[in-house]
Homo-oligomer: 289 residues x 2
């Protein structure tokens, strides 16, 4: 049995669909059912239920966007840094391997050598770099709290999207915002993301951290052009002149825009679709829930 | 009625003694009694009990010392950063003024101008400065989460001591460690600390952050010499040659050693004993619990 935490969220829901599609026995544990943030209670539950693997898709992302985390710092910190540490304590006590949905939003830009960020690169969009959103700071702190854990996958997601219209879908967001900020980003097709994460366990690839993004990167202007070309949305996209204007007019906190290197995942035999092809496919198959 | 959170700790216990000495009605709320880390439960409790003021002396300091926090990061983060944020949420919902025991350990050294750190100085021993213990990082993050709160005192304690032998007492620690690191520090006589904190409320001084340390600073060698001169402990104190040797041989994480400026507190009429006089008095009156 696979135990899923945070199954009601955007990413957790995709894990549920994956498990159902694979015909796997899984259990989506809700916090109302059992307060899994309490390491002792979760350890007791694990000792009793004996799942073969635990997926933590719980986290605090802020709604409608990351700006909301600035107004709810304690919950953001709890959900993204304390909770993973508590789950680690419980899984270690019970001897259960697990995977944690982290974020590539702990980086900004590209590596100094022009490449995408690799798993071992020091987060440069975190509290320790003193330039970050509160959300990104807590996600980086969460990884710090998980450092050295054995029997753990840390899967870094970035800006999820797929073909289903949703307020959490990157493509929907681009279509709904009045104006956009042009930037380079590696992004993750949601269903490929969860499949790749779980494939790590199915294929017993080495534990550790993996950037789980579609290979390559897109610019916001490229994606806007693909949206228009697809016919999904015909609007004339407008752009902020730069980050300064974006920050002054539309945002409360900085956004992480970054290019990731997903070659470690490819090197263990798990491959995602090239990013432009993945966006085009999502737009071709665009639909409401 | 005054509500005390964290009353069983070293600082909380001193608050209890102060309230008893002042003949004040107070209630020491234990977490086993009510999980005050849950903002909704605490807000309900406050709405019901209607205390005039809340003192948060709860926090996670690590035992026997700050190194222990490195091995228990999730609890350290919860106790020092999430919990204050949750108490803030509850106190704001219930409209109750409160005070939080923070720490001066978010600084290192002295200000660039040679003076002690003032309340508004940016913490230079924190995650954001990327040079800190995990403990100090969480205390600084706690202050960040409390930023902008109204009706709140943030009281910065540093290295508590008094005349009662205790594993938490700075003077006891110095006598028990095999070797010491010489450094300059502002420190807080525990009973004067709690009295000064509560005087902020009694005298209705403006809300905000206050460094609550005994005026001036001491070096570890000075305190060691005072201990020997007092006759409390006759041992020949040994010192590490420098911080590098200390880190290599005796510590897991960096210590905050810093000089604080307590003039803001003095400016509102609350004065603590000059630090050398306070240490000498503690040694003169030295006793077991």
């Amino acid at each position: 049995m696979i135990l899923l935490l945070g199954g009601s969220g955007y990413v957790g829901h995709a894990f549920q669909q994956l498990f159902a599609r694979l015909g796997l026995e899984y259990r989506n544990l809700a916090r109302q059912e059992l307060d899994y943030a309490d390491p002792r209670r979760l350890a007791d539950f694990l000792a009793d239920a004996r799942p073969e693997f635990v997926v933590n898709a719980a986290g605090y992302t802020g709604k409608p966007n990351v700006d909301a985390c600035e107004d709810d710092k304690a919950n953001t910190l709890f959900g993204n840094a304390v909770l993973p540490g508590n789950i680690r304590a419980a899984c270690e006590r019970a001897g259960v391997p697990w995977g944690h949905v982290s974020s590539g939003c702990i980086y900004s830009g590209r590596r100094a050598d022009g490449g995408g960020f690799k798993e071992e690169d020091f987060p440069n969009f975190s509290f320790r770099s003193n330039r970050c959103s509160f959300y990104s700071g807590t996600k980086a702190l969460g990884e710090e709290i998980l450092a050295g854990a054995e029997n753990l996958y840390v899967w870094r997601l970035r800006i999820p999207f797929n073909e289903i219209d949703s307020p959490r879908n990157y493509l929907t967001k681009l279509m709904r915002y009045a104006r956009l900020l042009d930037a380079e980003n590696s992004i993750s097709q949601l269903d490929e993301f969860v499949a790749a994460c779980f494939a790590c366990w199915q294929q017993r690839v080495p534990f550790g951290t993996y950037n789980v993004t579609n290979p390559g990167f897109v610019t916001t202007r490229e994606v806007a052009a693909m949206i228009r070309a697809s016919g999904v949305c015909k609007k004339e996209f407008e752009f902020f002149s730069d980050e300064t204007e974006f920050m002054a007019k539309a945002a409360k906190t900085l956004r992480s825009n970054c290019v990731m290197d997903s070659s470690k995942l490819a090197s263990v035999g798990i491959e995602l679709t090239e990013v432009h092809a993945a966006v085009e496919r999502a737009l071709r198959e665009w639909r409401s829930e």
